[in-house]
Amino acid sequence: MAWLIVVQMLAVTGALAVYLLLPKGEAARGSPPGVFIGLLVTAALLGLLPTFFGSMGQMREAYFFIFALTAILSAVRVITHRRPVYSALYFVLTVLASAGMLLLVNAQFLGIANIIIYAGAILVTYVFVIMLAMQSGAPEYDHTSREPLAASVAGLMFAGLVLGLVGMDAKPLTGNGLATAAPAAATQPTISATAPGSPVPLTNLQSVGLALLGDYAVSLEVAGLLLLVAMVGGLAIARRRTTSDVEEVG
C-alpha cells in the first residue's frame, strides 16, 4: 500500500520534470529545475528497483538490462553524433555502463580498472587531441559519412552472423564435461576462487592477482614491455618535425 503512494508520487514528479524539460517557445532549452527533478526521479526509480523484484536473480537481470541498454544506446550516439566531443562523452557513458555490467557478475577489478584506464586516461587523451586538432568549429567532414548504407549492412551482417551462431545451441562451452560436473559453480554468476587449503573464498581482486602473478607472469612482463615500447614510440613520433603541406595550420 505504501508502495502505491510512493510510485504515484514518483509518477507525478516525473511528469512535472518532463513538462519542465519540454521546449516551450524560445526560452532556453533544458531548464535547470526540470533537469534536476528529472535526474532525481530517475535516481529514485533506480534505487527503488530492488524492491519491485522478489529475488536477487530478478533484480540482477533488471540491472543488467538497464546497463546493456545504456551501453548500446550510448554507443549508437558515439558513432552518430556530429560533434566529436559529444562522441567522446557518450563513450564515457558506454564505459560506465560496461563497468556496471562487470560489477554485476563480481568482476570488480576489471570493471573499476576499465573506468580508471578508459574513462580516466584514454578518453581524456582523446578529448585533449580533439580540442587540439579541431579548433575551427564544425568542419564538413563530420556532417557526412562515407558509405553509410554499406557500413550499416556490414555491421548488420556481422552482428546477425555472430549472434545467430552464439545463440544456436546453449550447451556448455567446455567440452570435457567440467561445466556439467560442477552445477553449483555454474549457477552462481561470480568469478572467484578458493585459495588452496583455506576455507575462506578469495575476493575477486585476490584471485585475479594470483592469476596474474602466478599463471600469467610472463604475459605481465611482456605487457610492461609493450607499454615501454609504446611510450618510447609515442615520444619519437611526437618529436618529429614535419614539413607542413599547407601555409597556415590551425
Binding site: 546493456a68 551501453a71 548500446i72 554507443a75 558515439v78 558513432i79 562522441s87 563513450f91 564505459v95 560496461s98 555490467m101 557478475v105 577489478f109 576489471l110 576499465n114 584506464i117 578508459y118 584514454i122 587523451t125 582523446y126 587531441v129 587540439l132 586538432a133 579541431m134 567532414y141 562515407r146 555491421g155 556481422f158 552482428a159 549472434l163 552464439v166 545463440g167 567446455t174 561445466a179 560436473a181 560442477a182 559453480a185 554468476p189 561470480t190 568469478i191 576462487a193 575477486n204 584471485s207 585475479v208 594470483l210 592469476a211 596474474l212 600469467y216 604475459s219 609493450l226 607499454l227 609504446a230 609515442g234 611526437a238 618529429r240 614535419t242 607542413s244 603541406d245 595550420v249 590551425g250
Partner: protein, 106 residues
C-alpha cells in the same frame, strides 16, 4: 542464472556498432574512437567466457579477467600511438578528413 550469453550478446552488438562507426565516419579521431568501442565489446565477451571457464581443479578461472587487463594495456598503448600519428597527420595536411588521405588509392 548464467550470464555468459548476455555478455556475448552485448559484446557482439558493441563490436558491430564500433565496426559500423569505423567504416562510416570521416573524422580520423572518431575512427579511432570506434576501435575503442570494439575493445569494450571484446572485454565484455571475454568476461562472458570467463564466467563459464573452469580451471582444471574446477574453481572458476581468473584467466578471462587477466586477459581483459592485458587488453586494457594494449588499448591504452594503441590509443596513445594512434593519436600521436593523427596529430602528425594533422600537422602535415591541416585536416582530419580521412578522404583527403586517399593517395594510396592509385
Amino acid at each position: 542464472m548464467n550470464y555468459t550469453m548476455h555478455f556475448l550478446a552485448v559484446g557482439t552488438i558493441l563490436f558491430a556498432l564500433g565496426l559500423v562507426g569505423f567504416l562510416a565516419r570521416r573524422n580520423l579521431i572518431i575512427i579511432f574512437l570506434c576501435t575503442e568501442i570494439m575493445f569494450q565489446g571484446v572485454i565484455l565477451t571475454l568476461t562472458g567466457f570467463a564466467l563459464k571457464h573452469l580451471a582444471p581443479d574446477r574453481t572458476p578461472d581468473a584467466g578471462g579477467q587477466a586477459f581483459g587487463l592485458f587488453l586494457l594495456v594494449v588499448a591504452a598503448a594503441e590509443a596513445a600511438l594512434a593519436l600521436a600519428l593523427v596529430v602528425l597527420l594533422f600537422r602535415r595536411r591541416g585536416t582530419l578528413d580521412a578522404d583527403k588521405f586517399a593517395m594510396l588509392n592509385g
